[in-house]
Symmetry: C2
């Protein structure tokens, strides 16, 4: 870790890519003093179901169904956050890692290829790290539908993940892993794509307001903090900052899939918050992402126009090629994380 | 932590309850050197859905539904495990904490009242700790039903939890927290019962074989190990030990809800594995638990009869009154954990 820290100190954000590549492996050998590993649920409320007919549920395959009463009180709408609190953090604020759509906090943990992910990276850099699961995902749990959640969930196919996460071009997925054709030069560990598929979590299309409320409650409970947010999480983090600008000390938006429209939302409150927008490769070749990137770009420009810090880390433009949408799982994830860390250093977020 | 370790060393399992009560708070102030925090999914396989009609899904409340193709490849049947690896563990083997039915690994993390749970306790005692989520729960994710999972899930009501987890007698639950009547002298933090309700996770009745297969794969991946297992997890741990007796160095069964029948299953392979069965209070007053305890008791007696170590920690018999089924969340959870730790010390599981 000390070797790595020296690498960071001697580099600047724009010139550091090649220098840092030689340092990126060292975090794997680091260790850190932990005061507490723990978790909590936050948000949500009691929901009562009544008057529903008994359900017939099969308890043993082939056996006759038994009647079960579905009525009663449940907790619903909460989210989950796990934390690793360092004894002596070097960062001024806890770091939160917010996942994207159809996924959970596992995004940030060990990568599908078994190498350490961003949670471990930022722990070795001296951050207390929180990894939440949004409402309805992972350890947050989910509620009966259509009685509590109003619609049915989606289950993302591996093909959709392959294309949307820009592992390969549209139509290049195949059920047989040997026949999948990834983008030339991809940094994603393609042999671990099925392992990544095990992280996929059902999601609902109609829970956004409740999810935002839970994130807002999380911010009230655990911040001031710095948020690193991915994809669908972007909108939740941007809106959380609009609602509690004093609580959020920086936002690193990794390929956000959306953003508030500065023509419709007053973003003045965000002026004091430094933003970094991180983008991988193949965006312009991807039908979906060519569209998705428009709103975050407009948002970034509006933040800059009002005089705030709203930097851009466009990896291909810096000579770092081949990153997918899941760049925290790519082979060079430590290299990208080191650039994020250097930006945090530059913006006064470390002690 | 050193103070606490001394307390443990000077006590024996049977005489330690009162001594340890005075030491139980010290774990909260401990810290420990961590080499890595991480996770993985294990088990499961690709499942392909085809020929299903398009689903109509409402994306925005009130808007017309859109058609979504549910067909494609998915990963299904995997489970999840998170680990905190100590740099210099004092235990000979990693410790696994397996949760019970309708719950996830959160069982072992911070307690619903905000105090540290058994994960933190055993980390401070020098164990590398794994906390899995069984197939279908938490970060393990779950699959479409009835197309992949064959039946619909259960959602446990808070009333069922209140009664089954022996917070209060049958009929003593009320939707209004102020009107709930807990067992006199309960150790469960009753004011945090709704917070505990947020940990509740839907479950299926027909996934036991697949869940066992995933646990077996976990044992192959991450053991040799010691397993602390709760409630519904008991059967999975006992069967995992029957399938891989060399991999499992001890089992602490906390209120197992079932066990293999030694009249039907050959348990000779388990003779070298030390077992500890831990039981809380109010068992004989509870209609369900009076029944559930029979199979584990018969199993324990058969383990003893063949000359193995199969100890019993009956808390009320040791003068420790008021523990619920969720004794790792009870106010005296550190006291109970310390008795488990003392048993591990006695059985040579520490360096």
């Amino acid at each position: 870790m000390q070797t790595f820290a020296r690498c960071l100190t001697s580099s600047t954000l724009l010139a550091s890519a090649l220098t840092l590549a030689g340092c990126a492996g060292t975090a794997k050998n680091a260790s850190y003093e932990v005061a507490e590993v723990g978790s909590f649920h936050v948000g949500g409320q009691q929901v009562t179901l009544s008057g529903l007919p008994a359900r017939e549920i099969v308890f043993t395959a082939g056996a006759a169904p038994r009647k079960v009463d579905p009525n009663g009180d449940f907790e619903s709408g909460q989210m989950y956050a796990q934390y690793v609190k360092l004894k002596n953090p070097k960062a001024r604020y806890p770091l939160m890692l917010w996942h994207g759509g159809g996924l959970a906090g596992t995004t940030w943990e060990t990568k599908p290829d078994g190498a350490p992910g961003w949670q471990q990276f930022f722990l070795t850099q001296g951050h207390t790290v929180y990894v939440p699961d949004a409402m309805e995902r992972g350890r947050a749990s989910w509620s009966r539908y259509p009685e509590i959640y109003k619609t049915e969930p989606f289950f993302r196919t591996k093909q959709e993940g392959w294309e949307l996460f820009r592992i390969g071009a549209d139509g290049s997925y195949h059920s047989d892993p040997a026949k999948r054709v990834a983008y030339a030069g991809t940094q994603f560990p393609v042999a671990a794509f099925d392992q990544f598929g095990k992280q996929s979590i059902p999601r609902w299309a109609t829970n956004d307001a409740a999810t935002q409320a839970a994130y807002d409650a999380l911010v009230q409970k655990a911040c001031p903090c710095v948020i690193v947010v991915h994809s669908q999480g972007g909108n939740f983090a941007f809106n959380a900052a609009l609602r509690a600008p004093d609580k959020i000390k920086a936002i690193v938006a990794v390929e956000p899939s959306g953003a508030p429209d500065p023509d419709k939302v007053d973003i003045k409150a965000l002026k004091a918050i430094p933003f970094l927008f991180v983008w991988g490769d193949f965006v312009e070749q991807n039908t979906s992402w060519k569209q998705y990137i428009q709103a975050p770009n407009k948002f970034q420009q509006a933040l800059q126009a009002q005089g705030g810090v709203a930097d851009r880390l466009d990896l291909p433009q810096q000579g770092i090629k081949g990153n997918s949408h899941m760049l925290m799982m790519d082979r060079n994830s430590d290299q990208v994380a080191a650039l994020v860390q250097a930006w945090m250093d530059k913006n006064g977020l470390m002690k």
